[in-house]
Symmetry: C3
């Protein structure tokens, strides 16, 4: 499929219908998606608490790329391509670990933790060490979140993060640590995975755990983000009351959403949990005794932040669930979850891990199955785009941003 064909396909997509089959199955479109959508976004791939000590590292892998995220002696976190500059060997072979020096296991070329070359034996006279440091990947640390960007000329990180700042900073992500991390390999295109994440029309049939924790009226009106469902008078009333009370407590309320099309696809909002619930757990009690960030008492609120299509932060007062969506191939996406708690919280004493991960672990396992069955059906010759419901506005918004971004990339 060439670019002209793809552009004409983009043009033929109908409002309020799902996308044509090709967008979910075509290898050429996937390649363009990866290089023009994913590689151009700032995506967080971890939290600094995963690599607390000098030399600690982990690998982030996407497509054929492997990135070493490593803390150097100046406590700076670097992102290096895991490719020796000599003859291309992988340097770090384990998924995570600690290195005093990055020594290539093949010929022992060695690099400092900041990526500059330390030594290369027996090179010819004209060899200039300065030219042969590791290839660097753009990296920014914000509130402990490690964002990378795989493009050559990344868009401004500051411009990107600005509108989400108050929502993230409220929760003290900087002073958090990872309580648990899980990866859910999902055999479906990344857009089917995100379609699923952008609507809660499927929550009632598919996610009993989510529906136990969250209010039906919230799910109806707000499941996939603000304004993604039909209006609910009941929930509007609850929201207004909660906003008022929360403002008095001194915490931020309200929402952010993009007004016009731009490079970003961001959103943020604060909403009340169900009446009487303090946290996103089965019984509504907190999973962790220590509150995070600016909270001095429970405000019974729930904060959703989506800095890009590939990340989400869903946060109660006592813990946060972070999502990274990693396109692996046309028909596979990895969904990685990190649960964060206050850095001083102790498992067993301050928090119960199983209570904390219960809902999103169960829900993500169910979504994996759902997306895989969706992908199978979408491969049929009889799959044609179907009409969206009143609860799939979030998906429609994402779809339109995607189509415009892709169209621009093909110019």
């Amino acid at each position: 499929m060439d670019n002209t064909q793809i552009k004409s396909l983009i043009k033929s997509q109908k409002d309020n219908y799902s996308l044509d089959q090709e967008f979910y199955t075509n290898d050429d479109i996937f390649k363009i998606d990866l290089e023009n959508i994913f590689f151009k976004q700032w995506v967080f791939v971890g939290h600094t608490s995963r690599i607390p000590n000098v030399g600690d590292y982990f690998l982030f892998e996407i497509g054929f790329e492997s990135i070493i995220i490593i803390r150097d002696k100046k406590n700076i976190i670097n992102a290096h391509y895991n490719v020796c500059r000599h003859r291309g060997s992988r340097i770090c072979l384990e998924n995570e670990g600690n290195k005093k020096l990055l020594v290539c296991p093949y010929h022992a070329w060695s690099y400092k933790l900041d990526g500059s070359i330390q030594s290369a034996r027996l090179m010819n006279g004209n060899f200039n060490k300065n030219e042969w440091g590791l290839h660097r990947c753009n990296v920014k640390i914000y509130e402990g979140l490690i964002f990378i960007n795989l493009s050559k000329e990344p868009i401004s990180f500051e411009e990107f993060i600005e509108p989400n700042k108050p929502y993230i900073e409220l929760h003290g992500i900087k002073d958090a640590k990872i309580a648990c991390r899980k990866v859910y390999p999902t055999y479906g295109n990344w857009k089917l995975t995100l379609d699923n994440f952008h609507e809660c029309y499927h929550c009632q049939p598919s996610h009993p755990e989510f529906c136990l924790v969250h209010d039906p009226e919230y799910i109806l009106a707000y499941g996939g983000g603000s304004g993604t469902g039909p209006s609910s008078e009941q929930f509007s009333r609850r929201l207004a009351q909660w906003n008022e009370r929360t403002k008095k407590l001194g915490y931020i309320t309200g929402e952010y959403s993009e007004r016009n099309f731009n490079n970003f696809s961001r959103g943020a909002e604060r909403t009340p949990l169900s009446e009487g619930k303090l946290s996103e757990t089965r019984n509504g009690y907190p999973a962790c005794k220590k509150l995070m960030g600016k909270f001095k008492e429970h405000d019974q609120g729930y904060t959703s932040v989506g800095p890009s299509p590939f990340n989400s932060l869903l946060m109660c007062n006592d813990f946060a669930t972070l999502f990274t969506f990693i396109p692996k191939s046309t028909l596979q996406t990895d969904v990685e979850l990190m649960w964060l708690v206050h850095k001083d919280a102790e498992e067993g004493k301050d928090y119960n891990l199983l209570d904390m991960i219960w809902m999103w672990d169960k829900t993500t396992i169910a979504d994996k199955r759902i997306i895989e069955d969706n992908q199978k059906g979408v491969l049929s010759s009889k799959y044609k785009p179907g009409p969206l419901s009143q609860m799939e506005t979030g998906l429609e918004t994402f779809k339109n941003w995607y189509l415009m971004s892709l169209d621009l990339a093909l110019n």
Copy 2:
């Protein structure tokens, strides 16, 4: 490989030689085969006794297509594409089962068993339920056999089935039930699988069980169908005698074969079993006490019916072995066998299952290996079409029908 190249390749095939490598290995030709040969034929994929109750269903899968074969409240058997009209999810996830309603597991759109939509929550005002029933696949029931046809404008079922009718009806397939069903996944192109099925030149070296059950003179003259081997005076005499005796008993004899090229590739014939044998079992005794269909006593005959290249019925008086050949990919074919007995026969009391399936189970397992070794050799650069023997006329007939059908499809 484009259509012009394929047409020129068709033209260059030699009479009485096997096909060129490309026909057994090329992905473009496979795709055309699937859509222009398989999808245009009426193929039986099951028997009504597999789904006796309202709501009983099974799936038939080919390529990326999954078809739900389901009995509705009016006792009509429907074939629906297993693709939700909303966003394309698979609806039935299990291979077989029972459903009161076809509810999509994703967003709970529900369909009646006849495929019409029952409910879709929260759709926008202009949503017209009548437009969103399940995509239907052509289906016909004949003598309990469930035939489907995946083309848009299927050829006439009545015209198709006409010449095979007396042969099938003799055996009372309508009043039968499935005693056993097995699938043999075979790593070879579907045409290598059918080449194997259309000749008995390989029976003597490869199938001791078949040769124990059937008369060497029958195998020589008739193994791959009437007129597929050198004439055998001895067998002709036996056939003439048997025809005479059987006519007296009031049962049909003789054969059907296509005279001219047409859309169909049908054949049928009745022949005597070996002297003294009553059934296609190791010792020649019946595997089932209850006779099928019109038989009041054993006529010692054997009925072969091939309604299309993708099906075969091989029938004794007491049981029938039915074949479905399902092209899965260029290099894979599933061979599905169903053994049918009289619907009132009871296992253990009336029939012994192991006796019944013994020969075709052993023989199909051997054919699986044979076809796989054939495919490996055909992938070599040194494979060139070889000359056919006097016992491979059946294969030559199938080959010529295939080439002409393919050529027509490319116009």
Copy 3:
């Protein structure tokens, strides 16, 4: 990638740098490599001692080709394509064995061990048996080594083998037998596998066993063949002394290397082992009591012969380690090792197998891992050719021969 693009890529390669990514990852280039480099070389694939008796055979498999190497009744070793001339089935299904007659398991066409047809049942009148013998592969036996060549018009075997003769004949390979044979499937392009074999820059970081056995100065100056490292005065002195002493003993010394580009990529050399060592074992003692070939006493020498890029012979006085590199697909190469000893040597009594295979088994397992990690890195978009060290001259020589051979093949 078409031939013009490949030719222009060849032109853009830089001296003393590794190759561009495409050469290690592109399927079109792999196909051309196989047919224009591998298939045109004489490659040994076994030793006559593997098939000592009439009817003994083994299979050699590359790409979609399977070759039967079999000893016939006249004690001639034949190489036949494992493809029946009738409808293409594989004839030999096991990796090795003994056959009185080559009978196709499908329809029982049978061939004599020399490949001529013995019988084909029931063929039509105009069938001429003489035309339907097995396709033959070029084969030559030299000193017990079985060389094959898969091209239509093979280059002269005599011209090919001439310069390596004295080095191979010294070691009595003709009077040897296989003590052990192992295959190491390696997930890397064949050129990454050979790059690895053509330099010893990686030996110090990666091969402790090799470095224990061989002298550091030898590794520095000679690891990847004569003149592949910086000069070592110390080793030059040792070499001169050893040459003198060895000449007195009456054994060949010195080396062979190609002066100008030609169809072949051959090399041979004799060097001394470390001071005091008699063999390539952990402690330097012989692994086998019986000396091979012309040796009457240990001359403490080591002979390396590379008749083509796809074979190597590394020989002490008491045993020889033989390598065959078999490209399987763009990203996979099999490395096959054979250890040879004197034909009369008895395991346990005359030789200890574990001592003998210790170094090259450990080293080849390590190389498998190294090459696989190299391939992963080379797939990254950030892999660019890197500068070679003073110890990678052997790799540079191989690279240039490969580029010129490929360029010629594309004319």
